[in-house]
Symmetry: C2
Subunit: 409 residues, 2 copies
Amino acid sequence: MATLSPLAPKTFVSLEPLAGIRLASHACGLRYQGRTDLMVAELAPGTTVAGVFTRSLTASAPVLWCREALKGGAARLVLVNSGNANAFTGSAGVASVRRTVEAAAKIKGCKPDEIFIASTGTIGVPLEDQKITDALGEAMAGLSADKWRAAAEAILTTDTYPKMATRTATIGGVKVRINGFCKGSGMIAPDMATMLAFVFTDAALPAPVLQDLLAAGTAGSFNAITVDSDTSTSDTLLAFATGQAGNPVVSGAKDPALRDFRKKFNDLLLDLALQVVRDGEGASKFLRINVTGAASARAAKAIAMAIANSPLVKTAVAGEDANWGRIVMAVGKSGEKADRDLLAIRIGGVEVARDGQVVPGYDEEPVTAHMKGTDIVFDVDIGVGRGKATVWTCDLTHAYIDINGSYRT
Amino acid sequence: MATLSPLAPKTFVSLEPLAGIRLASHACGLRYQGRTDLMVAELAPGTTVAGVFTRSLTASAPVLWCREALKGGAARLVLVNSGNANAFTGSAGVASVRRTVEAAAKIKGCKPDEIFIASTGTIGVPLEDQKITDALGEAMAGLSADKWRAAAEAILTTDTYPKMATRTATIGGVKVRINGFCKGSGMIAPDMATMLAFVFTDAALPAPVLQDLLAAGTAGSFNAITVDSDTSTSDTLLAFATGQAGNPVVSGAKDPALRDFRKKFNDLLLDLALQVVRDGEGASKFLRINVTGAASARAAKAIAMAIANSPLVKTAVAGEDANWGRIVMAVGKSGEKADRDLLAIRIGGVEVARDGQVVPGYDEEPVTAHMKGTDIVFDVDIGVGRGKATVWTCDLTHAYIDINGSYRT
């Protein structure tokens, strides 16, 4: 693994066993030497599933499989390999997924569409699926309730640390738990930095309810982060609910009984998403962009994303330069309603621009000090409405170019 | 001026006098020491004008002025300063433009809306317009028909070379000439790399005809290039026709008599636009992306731009890595119609991917050699329709980060 990101969490959370789930990891030798590259999660009968996937129109074979399998709403096994993304592998890739799923279904004694699969790593290279299917029996023999960290580590590629989060919540007075882990460090290079996330709960949640919760929770978490504006062919977020906690039946995603669960679930998704940003390729600064006063929430998010994805904003942050002019530029290029003379910008809480002009004699000292830190905050008020949004990103550094300019060679 | 771009033209064209136009440059001391920062172009009575501007919603005061002045269709004077963009300067910036234009109109003895103005340089800092108006008389005393290169140099900021082009054409058997110059080296940083372009012809062209020609010519030239996906608040392209060549009256932009002129005019616009790309901040490679087989021309351009603006594609090019997987990724993220299994990609003319898979055993040697050169060509066939487009860009290098991470400090 590469040098630990300077933005990495100071401590790593430990995930406790969760009723109805066993995990295993294994070294199949797909690409890496001396590390695991296969993660298996076994789910108890009755487990429901939900998923959100890349919007890429060149999605990988595993993504196409999961989209179809999701229609059944039930899951018994999750297989994730690192080292090879099985993307842009044409009909060979589709056949590879099919063989893997069928072999797994046979061993597990379930239907193929209860098997979920994800792959991350090199693209355009045929996946040696036989290495996976050959290893599956041995890997599954090692399934255990407490292998969360090993599972989180097996799916990593260019990540510099495993990304895990856990929460507890109550539904109808019954305590339930949520564990999750993910990988990703570009948003998202197709080679080695696809974003994959897996969330598990022992709550009893019908698949359509879990799907609604997941879709809603993604907007403010995984869909509110960006590292380099690039989208993987393989991005996958899957959620599983084993139902073992025995909470009362819920009527829908808006059931008042889900209030606490929804909050904790969203919080865990955001926790995982921000861990991805903090491991952004070459990142030296973590940047939070709050946009207020936009014409709508959608406009606010578009503006925040325009700022977050601007190479000029990102290089200024890397250079510890409080260059609010580039924020203005990014607002302008977003295409969303804005009025130059109504813009106000705060950096680290200090107002540097107001009514379309620099704030005369603003105190540069705290702004400079803020830019030298690792956690940077921009507050941008558009002044034309009440729409707001927050987006997180990282800076653009020499290390990003080193990582991505020499990957294959 | 910074070190000359490695992609700079080997020789610089010399622009000959053009009937009805005199030029001057002057050092007003707005920001730079020891160089000119004001360009003045004087236009004969009867000169028509057309313009295309940034789509930014936070456009600068000079852009707002030009958009209004354009309605008159006539031009007598162009004033361009470098060193200060007069952008994000609020009502002070608007007043500054007003004062400059009124002073110039008085000296020239014309209407204010016959004065066109553009500014490039630092943003958010009030423009000391008195330095310009004080110098105007002296500057205009130096007007001369042969100061094209001096004019082209006065408007530069982070550019590493002046950008000029010239063409001759015939309209109705009469020979006419077109001269142009421009500046820009990011697409386009608001600080110091705004794109400004000025094109002059002695042809007689009514303002609406010139406007139609300019708008049509921009699509395939200045709107088909990108350096870093960022949009300036000040981008300005102005065209002027003095009418001194005495060509027959044309009926409209589609008049068959304009066939040769249109071709040469578009060619000159593309020449200037590509000089901007070749001076892209930190650029070490010039990249041409041809997309064919898209659902429409619009879709083809969107796909080509998605490839051109992808940091992962741009860093791969910088690293001389024929990473076609990232091209696939960019096609996918464009949101335009595509089918993974129909994509074909050529790098330097060699087919590396076809039918959604790597071409087995393709010859890597010429591809590697091509990537080591400075002029890179990607041909991407989407395979779903007949839409095509070409876009030009440069790579993303350490030098880009050096330039933009430390600009203000």
